[in-house]
Symmetry: C2
Subunit: 195 residues, 2 copies
């Protein structure tokens, strides 16, 4: 039987911060839905939660998704609907954590990501990758705009270190960051028999 990771992704549109550090709510974008859903589908994520407190943004998101699940898009590109079928739109993080807990029958590790300095307790990619392989349910949080608001970090189990390369530029798109982090946690690896 194939191993199925118990990993969910949540894209948080509020509370996040803007360039000045103010706590705001950001707008849902079409490409965040598509690109992150495709990455989730590739790496075996169970549910891709899109969190926005704005009712009209939730409605717009549902309309975009239904185009690919049931509308013209389904016929034009069924692979896209395959990915977008993972998306669930929710109003707040509390509700998502509760639904993930109900789904797995236990509270998930709520793991934040960050682009700058780590906030609170950190967990390494290798450690989290191993915990996932042991069957631990995990909810990964990604922030839009300039990142998750401070109050989100007070509620998480741990935070992953920022993704870096050569130099100190840390302005990856959330689409790129989510893709890279899912690969680090769930991607195929050379010289690894069971992954």
């Amino acid at each position: 039987m194939t191993f199925r990771p118990r990993v969910d992704v949540a894209l948080v549109h509020a509370p996040v911060i803007n360039r000045q550090g103010d706590v705001i709510g950001s707008a849902v974008t079409n490409l965040d839905l598509h690109d992150i859903a495709r990455a989730c589908r590739t790496f075996g994520v169970d549910t891709y939660w899109v969190i926005t407190p704005f009712a009209r943004q939730r409605k717009l998101s549902e309309q975009i998704i239904s185009h690919w699940l049931a509308g013209h898009g389904k016929k034009a590109n069924p692979d896209r609907g395959d990915a977008l079928s993972l998306v669930r739109i929710q109003a707040d993080l509390e509700g998502v954590i509760e639904q993930v807990r109900a789904k797995w029958g236990q509270k998930p590790a709520v793991v934040a990501t960050c682009a700058g300095e780590g906030q609170g307790g950190m967990i390494s990619y290798l450690n989290l990758r191993n915990r996932i392989r042991q069957g631990a349910p995990v909810l990964l949080l990604f922030g839009t705009a300039w990142g998750l608001a401070p109050q989100v970090y007070t509620r998480v189990t741990a935070t992953l270190p920022p993704v870096h390369g050569f130099g100190d530029y840390n302005h990856l798109s959330v689409r790129s960051a989510a893709s890279i982090i899912l690969d680090r946690l769930l991607g195929n690896r050379e010289n690894c028999q069971d992954c």
Copy 2:
């Protein structure tokens, strides 16, 4: 002195294939410019080549970039110009290879990426990562639409294996694939003293 990898990225808009396998030229998109430039900047890529044979698409691309390098965008978000300054727009792959060769004083390894079956000689991520650290110049090719056309693979040094997770879905966006592959080749790694 900080190590500087001699790695370039080329995003190919022609020749690529469409869903039916026909050889086509695709349109440049704003988000491919931004997201891949930001990933290139993060991981220390030297130049991000955007290849399209269509003169009006080249002009449009230059206009988008100049907005962030010199226009209103520079003031609104200087980090974006920092990333987009890596972009060079070119008409064909031949010209890019020639310029990369001139820049480094030797022919680069031209390494293709693919989403499906490997084409021609393959190179592992670990092997290429090591070659980059030894100072080898590398030009990484990414295809838009449904991927690089077969004639591109006949001209490359080697091809990287597709990125996979759990299951057989292989429809990552080119933005996600480029981000993941740059991380695999150039990203920081735990338990690794020199990376």
